[in-house]
Symmetry: none
Subunit: 184 residues, 4 copies
DNA sequence: AATGAATGAGACTTCATTCAT
DNA sequence: TATGAATGAAGTCTCATTCAT
């Protein structure tokens, strides 16, 4: 019965979507399973048919989001320019597209009690991103690429934080300015 | 009876110190009042003699920390160099000195909810800092000081995040590199 | 699934019944939620599935009781005699049938605080009853019906209090005597 | 040192007065010892120097009030008229003078968990009052004095309840009407 | 006499999770 | 698949009371 499979996926997608939204706006701890099931229009029991625990739901959110982001970074660039420019533009694009996930991530990454495991996996992603940045800096012939990579990564991350934090943050302008610094 | 006052302040200081440490490491929501009182070596009831609620304890932590930080920024600089250099060095110094508070802040600022009030007050501090940065950029004769201020603020914030996030983060080196970019 | 509805109603009815009994005998404040759940043979958590708070449970008790009483007063009289006689007899009948509710009401009505809202609604009922009494007095051609209504209402209320207060209170005899005073 | 004695009595009087006011307005259970000490302008410890417990404070309130009321009933009448008239007028007078105590009493007498002992003592007073009423009825030559006493007592009690319950209750008028019924 | 620090039990309430249907 | 009844631990907070000073 493919119908069952369909419904199953529909429900799971709905749950992931709702949970991400709530985790992003209220925080992981402050969001209750009841709240999620309610907003998703389904019962507590059904939620537990799909996810063994609240943690597992969080993990699934991370899995999906990280996968999407990774794919987006790896695949042929959707934005033009040099390597660095592409990287920054791509990051900004993803920030806008997946604002809720970034909010969740930024809100959870420092106090990772529940999510130590997830964070370990994230670390890999982080290292990968920093490495990409370094590669691009090397290509651009910038000196001290290791340290520069750390700085650029931090700058991008800070920009992201402020975008998530403040309304009407002119992220495109700030990004452009940042890109300019690495031109020539 | 100054003895009461003494004991009172001792208890309050201990509570604020312990709560800050726990909030920083486990997060505000995940830290229980019982946990705080226990680590502070006192009973639940005593905590509530001094703080009407968990929120109020958090507020007191913020009040004290923000006050310290503000004072530290305003007073005669303890680190040398140009305006921008001073600002960055001072920030790094404070980051190291008040690591727990920054952890708490970075872990709480995105999903406010409980702390919308506090965040509103923080906003003022934030605006003040961004303005200081802009002033320094103007003095240094840097074009687009508004946008540059946003970028520099973001870079510093991102650097701080990574310092809080990763062990052995070479913040002094990254800071030096950042300072260099605004020299000459 | 009517099964859920059934169970739900069963639990709610049980809770309302037990809570009324306990509130009546020990008072609202002195009765704990744990006590209620325990006597009702269910867990604390289940109670909170049905009632958001202790107050709401009290409100439900009031809602149901007031509704019953109102219905009983409005519907065709189950006791004979003149208007006044009917009113008094009906009151006595209800007193016996809903002794617990009257106990709760008499024990709570003076120090409202929690139940100011409920009391405001009760006031309407009270006014309605006093008005009914006045109508009956007018029909019976008794002078000063306004004041007489207040007095008769007070007498009935006092009789009720003493019935609730003292064991073996001869309420039927006292009621008969009271009725006699308004005959002829 | 009579000064100590003086201060002691002053403090005790203040506590009794404040506690009575708070018990009357919020109820016994809902009033905290802290609240009482605070409103009386003294420390928790001092309160416990004078009263071993919250119960004992309540007992003292009852002792004093009952004594006052008893004295007032027993002593030469301050209001004129026949026995019944005197009794009713005197009751109304006391109601006005000791409104808080009556509120407390009416709010506590039905659910007497804490105060079973006190209520037993009150019962004596009650019996005494009912007996006085009966004596007066006998003197007035009214038939069925036993039952009439119960009814009149209930009427007076109900009047009192309504006076305590409703603002601007015309108790004097209602009392006059009640008195009239027993004239001739 | 007088203070208020200190305690711990217990109050109300929420929550993640399990289970019978 | 789907429901929501049911649980019990744990959370925040209040309270009467004791005690050192």
């Amino acid at each position: 019965m493919p119908r069952f499979q369909e419904k199953r996926e529909l429900s799971i997608n709905k749950l992931v979507e709702v949970a991400l939204r709530l985790f992003a706006s209220k925080g992981y701890e402050a969001t209750s399973i009841r709240n999620i099931a309610g907003e998703a229009g389904m019962s507590l029991g059904l939620l537990y048919n799909y996810f063994k625990s609240k943690d597992e739901l969080l993990e699934e959110i991370f899995r999906r989001s990280v996968e999407d982001i990774h794919a987006s970074f790896v695949q042929s660039p959707e934005v033009g320019g040099s390597g660095i420019e592409q990287h920054i533009r791509q990051t900004v694009k993803l920030l806008k597209e997946k604002k809720d996930f970034w909010k969740l991530l930024h809100g959870i990454r420092i106090q990772s009690e529940v999510v130590r495991q997830l964070m370990a996996e994230m670390q890999e992603q982080t290292a990968y991103i920093e490495d990409r940045i370094r590669q691009n800096l090397i290509v651009a012939g910038i000196p001290f690429p290791d340290l520069e990579a750390k700085l650029l990564f931090a700058s991008i991350d800070g920009m992201a934080s402020h975008f998530l934090l403040y309304d009407n943050y002119p992220i495109d302008d700030v990004a452009s300015l940042l890109i300019m610094k690495y031109k020539k």
